[in-house]
């Protein structure tokens, strides 16, 4: 935890990449997708910012943001209920006709007057489709030291299948300067894949967005950065830690499952940089007579009487007698009644699987049951 506040404000885009996971965002935003048993995606970025002393954070939302607002409240759990700064949610402003943002430039253009009124010298922009434990302070320090106009964060990884039509990769010279920024890269093998986190001086961001908006440009990366790499000094900042990137339903399943491998939870959750979330005051989880639980990540409030293996159980899940749950992700308050067999299934919140049912997906194609549905 840092002792002083960072000289940067945070802007988080809650709806970016919604299109990659249509099932999961049917009634929510990318930022409010439940992940890792008791969290939502936004918890990672928001906690990382709070832990880095970035305590003036605005979340730009586009649509379907009720669940996100419910989750965030006044930002208390992240210690962002502040008189100065704190958490601020920015929905589309209904001006004459309600206009939806189509890209980052649009979204930022709509908050220029707010941005101009802030005091922090730097702005950190971030999406919410990646769960990781990230130190924004170090990024900020590196940015200031390098003298760059913009710093952008990337990691070395293969491009996930789901993100092939929606990603940015970069080429970097020996000094760490970005020489090329490619849209929708599909090359196989390890690439420098952008994590869509940027640091820039607030005044220059305002200038760039204003110019771009006037010219009808939409995308910050493609239309501003990529076109101006010779004029703007854009630096690459590599993140080498553990990260979980959501690119489609399959990757959602895989990233939950990957947390079951030894050591991964410890990498994502660093005790020195806790990830905060909304508290639900659940009881501890009860393992009743007859329960057999192996290799699972289990949140509080569950009641388990059956067999559960290789699965992630969110808060308040119930697995009754005689049921077998294997390789599943059961979101909050999912109930599996007696004598069911459930394998390779992702249940959204509050799904009810009635007794005696057999539900089976495969490793490559997990079955998804939408929110509030009864099987």
């Amino acid at each position: 935890m840092v002792s002083s506040n960072a000289n940067a404000l945070g802007v988080i885009f809650a709806n970016s990449y919604d299109n990659l996971v249509p099932e999961l965002v049917a009634e929510r935003t990318m930022a409010s997708i439940p992940f890792a048993g008791r969290y939502r995606m936004i918890d990672f970025t928001l906690s990382n910012m709070a832990n880095s002393g970035v305590d003036n954070v605005s979340i730009i939302v586009r649509k379907n943001y009720h669940s996100l607002m419910d989750h965030l409240g006044a930002g208390r759990e992240w210690d962002l209920t502040r008189k100065r700064g704190g958490l601020n949610i920015i929905p589309p402003f209904a001006e004459r006709s309600v206009k939806m943002y189509s890209g980052r430039v649009d979204a930022l253009a709509s908050v220029l007057s707010w941005l101009s009124a802030q005091k922090e010298r730097y702005v950190i922009l971030s999406d919410s489709h990646i769960a990781m434990n990230f130190n924004f302070n170090k990024l900020l320090e590196a940015h200031i030291e390098s003298g760059a106009d913009v710093s952008m964060v990337y990691n070395r990884t293969e491009i996930p299948d789901g993100a092939r039509n929606d990603n940015y990769t970069i080429r970097i010279d020996a000094n760490g300067r970005v020489t090329e920024l490619l849209s929708n890269d599909y090359r196989p093998g390890m690439q420098n894949l952008s994590m869509n986190i940027y640091v820039i001086e607030r005044e220059s961001l305002i200038q760039l967005v204003r110019d771009a908006a006037v010219r009808g440009l939409v995308y910050f990366e493609r239309d501003i950065l990529a076109r101006n790499l010779s004029l703007l000094n854009v630096r690459a900042y590599e993140f080498t830690g553990y990260s979980a990137r959501l690119a489609d339903m399959k990757s959602y399943f895989d990233e939950n499952m990957r947390l079951l491998q030894p050591g991964n939870v410890e990498q994502l959750f660093d005790a020195a940089n806790p990830i905060y979330t909304k508290i639900r005051d659940d009881n501890p989880t009860r393992y009743l007579e007859g329960s057999r639980v192996k290799n699972c990540l289990v949140a509080d409030g569950c009641v388990i009487e059956g067999v559960v293996e290789n699965s992630v159980l969110f808060r308040g899940c119930v697995v009754k007698k005689g049921s077998v749950v294997r390789n599943c992700v059961l979101m909050q308050d999912s109930v599996v009644e007696e004598n069911c067999s459930v394998e390779y299934v992702v249940t959204d919140k509050n799904v009810h699987i009635t007794s005696g049912k057999q539900l089976c997906g495969t490793d490559s194609f997990p079955v998804f049951v939408a929110k509030n549905h009864t099987v």
Binding site: Y276, D281, Y287, L297, D300, V312
Partner: protein, 407 residues
């Protein structure tokens, strides 16, 4: 803005019979039931009963309790007007005093209570496990047009002489009070929970303080004085679960009873009467491939890869592969290494049980929650060395070296 009723929780108890568990914290701050502390019960009862102003009277080792209560937000008691306040003794113009007795503790905070101008004050104990609707108690108090009411439990006549007893008429009006009498005239035991009309309480507290021979205690002084004056005093019968967890065996017993709500009557899983607590903020529990967990409660931050049976594990407990935990209460941050056996005991926070160590022992006649017998205890921060043995009767508050035995 006047409040109808505010609560004062007596939380100054040292809990000396819990010795190893209360070296560094007050009894109300002792962890209970997997993710709670004892004080969560009266606090949650208050908010669930719509009482939004609570004073907590502390004086023994208040650090942990103060930090735990904080601004009261976990109990929804961070209020603009009212909320929860921790009230330690303080220096006054006339000098300063520790709280001399239960009545004196309230006396010293008369000005706190007066700020809210309440009609009624409920006096609660910070060291009992009990789910109780205080609004129903108040309804009774008002119905009887009482000046003082006390919550009572019916106890078996054979045990009555261990309690403070209220002798009542057919209308539940109290006409005598017996403190641990040889020949009980009643089997209604006081739970130490009182509702007073504030004007009456205030007058009696001032009179009691003026009496140099008084112990300034509710049971010994204030209640007898009310009786002597023929005040309207009533006994409110409570029949739910109630336990004073003042001893190691009763604390262990109450924890075990949480695992069996249908028989014990203590149901922490009731959505309509939630018990709130401050969250540890740790990630989900990780259950390994070699774990075997039956009839147990496990919470956030735990990493379990051993055998856990009939036990309650608090946040962040680690049970390594090959370790066995049975009929044990294991508090937050404790690590139980490979091959260690921890049974029939209470292990406090942040204890390290090294490889192959043994803590406690299952009774030969098997688990009997009603008659626990011996319960081993390990104090917080203690290290139990490799292969060391902590006997079934032992209460350990210092490190036990490798291979050493302690009985």
């Amino acid at each position: 803005m006047a409040k109808e009723m505010i609560a004062m929780i007596l939380a100054g108890g040292q809990g000396s019979r819990l010795y190893a568990l209360t070296q560094k914290l007050a009894k109300p701050a002792v962890p209970f039931g997997g993710k709670y502390r004892i004080i969560d019960f009266p606090l949650s009862n208050c908010v669930n009963s719509d009482i939004d102003t609570v004073g907590i009277l502390t004086q023994y080792q208040p650090l942990v309790l103060n930090e735990y209560i904080g601004n009261g937000q976990p109990w929804d008691l961070d209020r603009l007007h009212g909320g929860v306040h921790v009230l330690p003794p303080y220096q006054q113009a006339t000098g300063s005093d520790w709280y001399k007795g239960t009545a004196n503790a309230i006396y010293q905070n008369i000005s706190f209570i007066d700020r809210y101008d309440p009609q009624y004050v409920i006096i609660l104990s910070g060291d009992q496990i009990c789910k109780q609707d205080y609004s129903d108690f108040l309804r009774f108090h008002k119905e009887k047009n009482a000046e003082f009411s006390v919550a009572v439990m019916e106890v078996p006549w054979s045990e009555a002489s261990r309690f403070g007893l209220m002798v009542t008429d057919n209308d539940d009006r109290i006409n005598a009070f017996q403190e641990k009498p040889k020949e009980p005239k009643s089997n209604l035991a006081s739970m130490g929970i009182y509702i007073f009309n504030w004007d009456i309480l205030k007058a009696y507290l001032i009179a009691d303080e003026a009496d140099p021979n008084s112990d300034n205690d509710f049971g010994k002084n204030v209640i007898p004085a009310l009786l002597k004056d023929g005040r309207r005093m009533y006994a409110y019968r409570f029949s739910g679960y109630w336990k004073d967890v003042g001893t190691i065996s009763s604390l262990w017993q109450a924890n075990m009873e949480v695992l069996d709500p249908s028989h014990s009557g203590i149901n922490l899983f009731d959505e309509n009467w939630k018990i709130y607590s401050r969250n540890s903020g740790q990630p989900c529990q990780q259950i390994g491939s070699d774990a075997d967990i039956v009839n147990s409660m496990v919470t956030e931050g735990c990493k379990i890869n051993g055998t856990v049976k009939n036990s309650i594990l608090f946040p962040g407990v680690v049970v390594e592969k090959g370790a066995t935990v049975e009929a044990a209460v294991v508090m937050g941050g404790t690590v139980i290494k490979a091959g260690a056996t921890v049974s029939h005991c209470i292990v406090a926070e942040n204890v390290m049980v090294e490889e192959g160590a043994t803590v406690g022992k299952m009774p030969e006649e098997g688990l009997n929650i009603a008659e626990p017998g011996e319960v081993a205890t390990v104090g917080s921060g203690v290290k139990i060395g490799k292969g060391a043995v902590v006997g079934p009767k032992a209460m350990v508050s210092n490190d036990v070296k490798d291979g050493e035995e302690q009985w």
